[in-house]
Symmetry: C2
Subunit: 447 residues, 2 copies
């Protein structure tokens, strides 16, 4: 091995102390900060002059070496990852977790020797990614498929749901799904309706930054997801991703209440109209919500299947009702509207809405405001839309309403039955309590 990738002064420093990739290194910076971690090879993503260390919690940091920095080799040690030959035996004291790969940034690993990124979804690959995995669970993984998550459709939702159902019936103590972040919220909602009252946790997890980058969230998110799958007292479909306050806290979001709220930041995933149901900190699962489906719940029901004749439409000023008409003519039977404010679209839409609903189409109303609930009784226009047959969907997220309507329309085409399904909370997708705008409620919500 060599200190591959580090150039110039940084390369000289590392060479002078005989540091090699995988060695445990201590850095004391001129301004008094101390870092101890495994030396990673430099990648094209890291800025010049940054040394990349993998901390023991799986978090990668990029440390800038100033003139007064001191670098010391702590131990020759082993690499932060296992080699294949080193893989630990099954630990009978740890839970047996199924890990399903579907693609995305998290489903890749860096070879510490070559710096190359490659798929990492065999058990060996996964375990070799970070040693701590073997301390959390006995993981058995399988790559279901590998697609960009924006290419997923209800077919992939059903493929994932079927695989999870299989693992549940085989007695796994939890299931983790590695997923691209772009549409992870939609898939989480889909699985929430397909897998009702599951007996074990079903945890989706992704990464905003690939595992070879400084400040990658891949390993910490994965460890957090495995902790939830293996230890959580609840059996809910959830998304486990980096929380915003600290580098080592994972937020656990209900599958029907989570959105990707930022294109790139590590804390992109947020609960909306709800709070995270739990956090993971230092391997501990801290439950924050009540009335959760308990681990070992009875009454599990597997309900696959979606109908494609559903569309989500965001209203905007000047948008014409003829768009709705046009889509209905092409066979769409279910419409989720992202109206303005408390749930409004232009009054000019009322005749076409009345016609479509009397023809048996379902038209549900959510808000484009992102936070809050629709209330169509406040203004005359809202009341007129109600009279035309629009169903207000409370505080359900529009993305979740789309998924649920697609799922419901597979089960019934009767308008009254559809309405009843849509207005019945099946997986925490509708709440009674109004939530405020703020995405944070205290400095340490997990405390």
């Amino acid at each position: 091995m060599s200190v591959s990738g580090y150039k110039g002064k940084l390369g000289e420093i590392l060479e002078s102390i005989g540091a090699e990739v995988g060695d445990e290194i201590e850095v004391l910076t001129g301004d008094g900060r101390r870092y101890v971690g495994y030396l990673m090879s430099r990648t094209e993503y890291a800025a010049e002059g940054l040394i990349t260390l993998k901390l023991r919690n799986g978090y990668n940091v990029g440390v800038a070496l100033d003139d007064r920095a001191v670098v010391r080799k702590v131990s020759k040690g082993r690499a932060p990852s296992f080699t294949r030959e080193e893989l630990p035996p099954v630990n009978p004291n740890l839970p047996r977790i199924a890990l399903l790969g579907t693609g995305g940034t998290i489903a890749s690993r860096v070879d510490y020797r070559t710096g190359a990124v490659r798929p990492a979804m065999t058990t060996e690959d996964l375990l070799s990614t970070v040693r701590e995995v073997a301390e959390v669970a006995n993981v058995e993984s399988e790559v279901l498929f590998s697609v960009y998550s924006e290419n997923m459709t209800s077919r992939e939702w059903d493929a994932i749901g079927g695989a999870v159902h299989d693992r549940i019936t085989k007695g796994y103590e939890g299931v983790v799904i590695a997923h691209g972040t772009d549409t992870m919220g939609y898939t989480a909602a889909a699985l929430s309706f397909v897998l009702q009252r599951p007996p074990v946790p079903v945890v989706l997890v992704g990464a905003q930054r690939s595992s070879d980058r400084p400040s990658s969230d891949a390993a910490t998110n994965l460890l957090g997801a495995l902790s939830v799958a293996g230890k959580a007292p609840f059996a809910e479909v959830v998304v486990a991703m980096h929380a915003w306050h600290s580098d080592d806290v994972i937020a656990v979001h209900r599958g029907t209440r989570v959105v990707k709220l930022h294109t790139s930041s590590r804390d992109a995933f947020q609960s909306v109209n709800s709070r995270p149901i739990a956090y993971v900190k230092e391997g501990r699962v801290i439950v924050k919500a009540e009335k959760l489906n308990p681990r070992g719940a009875i009454g599990y029901s597997y309900q696959p299947g979606f109908d494609e004749r559903v569309i989500l439409l965001k209203f905007f000023p000047g948008m014409k009702g003829s768009v709705l008409q046009l889509l209905a003519e092409r066979g769409y039977r279910g419409f989720v509207l992202e109206g303005t404010g408390l749930g409004h679209v232009a009054s000019s839409w009322i005749p076409v809405i009345r016609q479509l609903t009397s023809d048996g189409a379902f038209i549900g109303m959510c808000s484009q405001c992102r936070y809050g609930r629709v209330n169509m009784n406040v203004y005359y226009n809202g009341r007129d839309l109600l009279a035309a047959g629009v169903t207000p969907l409370g505080d359900m997220l529009p993305e979740v309403a789309y998924v649920k309507l697609s799922w419901a329309l597979h089960r019934t085409s009767d308008p009254d039955d559809l309405r009843e399904i849509m207005l019945t909370a099946l997986a925490g997708e509708i709440g009674e309590r109004s939530m405020p705008l703020r995405t944070s409620w205290s400095d340490e919500p997990w405390a």
Copy 2:
């Protein structure tokens, strides 16, 4: 006058101290809080047992009287509003502000004598709403029209723009537009492109709760908007609405950076991918941004006109590219896509996108994440979409991109010119600096 509306024990207490609507009242609650304000008549919205007071800053509070509460009449005093006969003369030391009414919750007032809500957009009505208006500006108002804001189209945007242009040319020192909140962000964006480098501030303002309700934000928002119009050193198109930290702080949002982010809370309006450019506190305008268009700027340009052949489409998993095709066949020439994450739609859309862009249609990409910027160079799918002719729109909000594209398509149908207009920041709608997710950055951002 009588203490109209208050019943039961509350009515008895008020009667016992001879309190009448409009009197100044002091309430000391059992738990030690003190309120002084003008007694308002009870309305159907207020909960039983609540006494509604209008504080001097225009803010309405509903105070619950517990068993130990003490109620005292401070002064017979005048009503919090003017009667017509009392209207103050023009004050030559105050700025001359035009107030344009377009509808919405703010464009109504409560008659303190009858409790009824009615339109309040004549100067007399406005001044009689709250006395403090006369201390801020000489206001001349006109009702342009009165519509629910979800019914607005580019026709109304042009009507408002034309009226503002008229007031600018007539030498008013600022213009305030009272607007329904549902689509106020869209109109603010529209005016930002129609009124370029205006010489005076153009301020949109609304209310989340009508002025007769406890905790109404109507009067404080209006006073804040008038302060900006009359005193701000900048001449930008902005939205002035309740900030979240305090009852009496107004946030001033750039017209191209503001969204209604909650269906019902008073702090619903938030700057996204940007911070508020100013705050108003106790009548003072506290500027937070640099490089603003200054009051008295030269180079003002009035650019009305929008093209209706533009559509905003939010992508979701399973959404078919044929929807795009269908709309293009119906004559749509401009498409703003709310893609997932960094700006993605399904790879299966690439052929139809390539065809539409080669036919001269404009297809711009924003993100449905709400926060952050698109970056289509990270993943292969993004690069393929770029190659198919999609234009990534940086951190522009999708609603603003829709408005801007409609405005740009009125000016040119040449794809290269369109692209150049869309990628040139004309009114602060594109930023270079990436902003984090959090909606708050400090406890007192106006300090």
